[in-house]
């Protein structure tokens, strides 16, 4: 097991830059998830670490050794491909044994290690089969077995469960987490599914357009998104983002949304803290649906809004509230708002309200009530 360090890594495909000055340290035994939309450079970054892709400039250090000029075979890492990449003509046993046989390990050791890994993955009964006769989940188990069997310095996974159906994906997610906890292997995992990322990661790396947007623990990335991109990419249902204006009347500070259609009360400290950031430009706020608090009776700081749409999701409902021309999505207990058209009293939880510079998208780092 080893740590992985990326220093100023850049990659061009022709004139298109797919990775821009990426700096990242993955600690020994850590599970890091590279998260981003398709085409953001996350897979290229992973393949560059593996040695399947050259980098244009920068340095990749595995276990203290620069490896950017080494072949994949000499980096001692394992890779789990999205479409499994199992050897179709070899049995499951031979597939898992392949990395051991390729490095001429003694027959008895191969036999023992393959059986051990197969037992850990619960695929002992499949060892004699060909990959073509397996289900998607089992194929991926075999691919993971092939990665685990030789105890590599790190395991890299490229959307390993992306091709499975939803139910199986959840099972495999649990299994990957369990395997990581048992093996403590340094793992880098690429996905575009933020739920997967939140569930698996010790740290999430959010990428967009070849640039690292934010690196942090799942709760950190969720609670304190560094910019508008991260704010909208992480979390389901998606965070409400709206242009906002701050109005000060007497001692009271209000946030006007939807072109002034609704003004939510905010703590008085907002005004001085906003001016302290020196960001004089336009402001956007972000509030997750659970940060929009609804009440049936008016209370201090609530304003009266009309429910436009209700999405019942079982455990909770998502209610679209009409604010001027736009909408504010709120998360409520199931059945809290009976039908569209009902009026409810809403307030924004200041502690869950995020402030962004509208032009750059960067978070202003203001945490109210904290």
């Amino acid at each position: 097991m080893a740590d992985i360090v990326l220093r100023d890594v850049e990659k061009f495909f022709g004139s298109v830059q797919v990775i821009r000055k990426v700096n990242l340290t993955i600690k020994d035994g850590e599970f890091v998830v590279l998260l981003g939309p398709s085409g953001c450079g996350k897979t290229t970054t992973l393949r560059a670490i593996a040695g399947l892709e050259d980098i244009t400039s920068g340095e990749i250090v595995i276990d203290g050794k620069p490896v950017q000029n080494l072949h994949a075979a000499d980096r001692d890492i394992a890779f789990v491909f999205q479409l499994y990449a199992l050897y179709p003509h070899l049995s499951v046993f031979e597939n898992i044994a392949f990395p051991l046989r390729a490095t001429r390990q003694p027959r008895s050791a191969v036999e023992r290690q393959v059986r051990q890994v197969a037992a850990a993955l619960g695929i002992e009964h499949l060892l004699a089969r060909k990959p073509g006769a397996l289900s998607g989940g089992d194929m991926q188990r075999v691919a993971i077995g092939r990665a685990l069997v030789r105890r590599p310095k790190a395991i890299l996974m490229d959307e390993p469960i992306g091709a499975l159906d939803a139910k199986l994906r959840e099972d495999m997610r649990m299994e990957l987490k369990r395997l990581h906890i048992e093996n403590k292997s340094t793992s880098v995992y690429v996905t575009h599914d933020q739920v997967e990322a939140m569930a698996l990661a010790d740290r999430i790396v959010v990428m967009h357009d070849g640039v690292l947007q934010q690196v942090g623990t799942p709760s950190d990335v969720y609670a304190h998104p560094a910019n508008l991109f991260v704010a909208q990419f992480i979390g389901s249902p998606v965070m409400n983002i709206a242009p906002a204006a701050v109005k000060t009347e007497g001692g009271r500070v209000r946030l006007a949304l939807g072109g002034g259609a609704a003004a939510f009360e905010m703590p008085a400290e907002l005004a001085p803290r906003l001016s302290a950031t020196g960001a004089g430009g336009a402001l956007s706020i972000g509030v997750r649906p659970e940060g929009v608090q609804l009440a049936r009776e008016p209370a201090t700081g609530t304003i009266d809004l009309e429910a436009h749409l209700i999405e019942p999701l079982g455990a909770y409902d998502i209610v679209d509230l009409k604010v001027g021309e736009g909408f504010l999505r709120a998360r409520t207990p199931a059945g809290f708002v009976a039908r569209p058209g009902d009026r409810v009293h809403a307030r924004l939880d200041p502690a869950q309200t995020h402030f962004f510079d509208q032009r750059s998208g960067a978070s202003l780092g203001i945490r109210l009530g904290a």
Partner: protein, 301 residues
């Protein structure tokens, strides 16, 4: 009755738009093909089977006498015929092995992104497109001991490629290798490019060396299509006539089809040559059957 069981044409099809009925299509395309097959393939096949049990000679007017299995018995007991078969076997092995080695090797070289790949591939395919007789004639010139290009280039003086009885068969095989390696190359190339790239990536990650990757990944995955090439080439090599006939008159290059030709059209032993032709046919069928069995086994893996 046939007309009532025929399904009607798809009204969308081009033939239907041209106003052709099913019966017109049958009369125009299928009946001539079947007639052709019967007249030129099936009839001679059956007729020669009949002759193979007689002492018929096409050069005389004497009526054919039924002799039972005598022709087969005598042929299979004839050491000269067995010598022809040995020569043929040697030729098939050398020629097919050479073609597989050269063809697959060139395919490996071409299976990467190189400039002018399409042009190079097309040029390499040219020998295959020439007529056997033409190839035989100009390789005879190339092999010529006193002014042939091959001896000049290899600095072999007046080495007798075709005159030396021990070398002549290999000289013919080399010509065949030159001509038909492109065929093996073409099929191998198709097989090689069908191997998914991510398998090579997986093998690299698994720390497999190039030789291990070749024997454990590349070769097994290309083998089914390579087997097809080998089947075709073995059948053809077994039946080789023109190349060997034109290039050399040495008894050491008398492959079985040359013997057959001489027996049928120089010695006019029509009945006996029919029997020999059947023996050859059964042998080719036997060999290809073994191959096909093996091919199916390879495919199952």
């Amino acid at each position: 009755m046939a007309t009532t069981t025929m399904t009607t044409l798809d009204p969308q099809s081009r033939a239907a738009r041209r106003g052709m009925s099913d019966i017109a299509i049958r009369n125009l395309f299928i009946i001539p093909t079947i007639l052709f097959l019967i007249v030129f393939n099936i009839f001679p096949l059956l007729y020669s089977l009949g002759y193979s049990f007689t002492d018929f000679r096409a050069s005389t007017n004497a009526p054919a006498n039924f002799v039972g299995l005598q022709n087969y018995r005598e042929l299979l007991a004839d050491p000269y015929i067995w010598n022809n078969f040995t020569v043929t076997a040697k030729y098939v092995i050398v020629s097919v092995a050479g073609q597989v080695f050269v063809g697959f090797g060139v395919a490996m070289l071409l299976n990467r992104s190189i400039p002018f790949k399409g042009l190079i591939t097309t040029l390499l395919l040219l020998p295959m497109m020439l007529s056997m007789a033409v190839v035989g004639l100009f390789w005879k010139l190339l092999y010529d001991p006193s002014w042939g290009v091959i001896n000049y280039l290899l600095g072999l003086g007046d080495f007798e490629w075709l005159g030396d009885p021990d070398v002549a068969l290999y000289a013919v095989a080399i010509t065949d290798i030159w001509m038909w390696s492109p065929f093996v190359m073409l099929l191998s190339l198709a097989g090689l490019s069908a191997v998914p790239k991510h398998l090579y990536e997986a093998a690299a990650i698994d720390r497999a060396g190039p030789i291990y990757t070749f024997f454990r990944i590349t070769l097994p995955l290309v083998l089914p299509i390579l087997m097809i090439a080998i089947i075709f080439r073995t059948m053809e090599a077994f039946k080789t006539f023109d190349l060997a006939y034109i290039l050399s008159t040495q008894p050491t290059t008398e492959v079985i089809s040359i013997r057959l030709y001489k027996m049928a059209f120089q010695e006019w032993q029509t009945g006996r040559s029919c029997a020999l032709a059947y023996i050859v046919l059964i042998m080719v069928l036997g060999v290809t059957n073994i191959y096909v069995k093996y091919l199916n086994k390879v495919k199952e893996r």
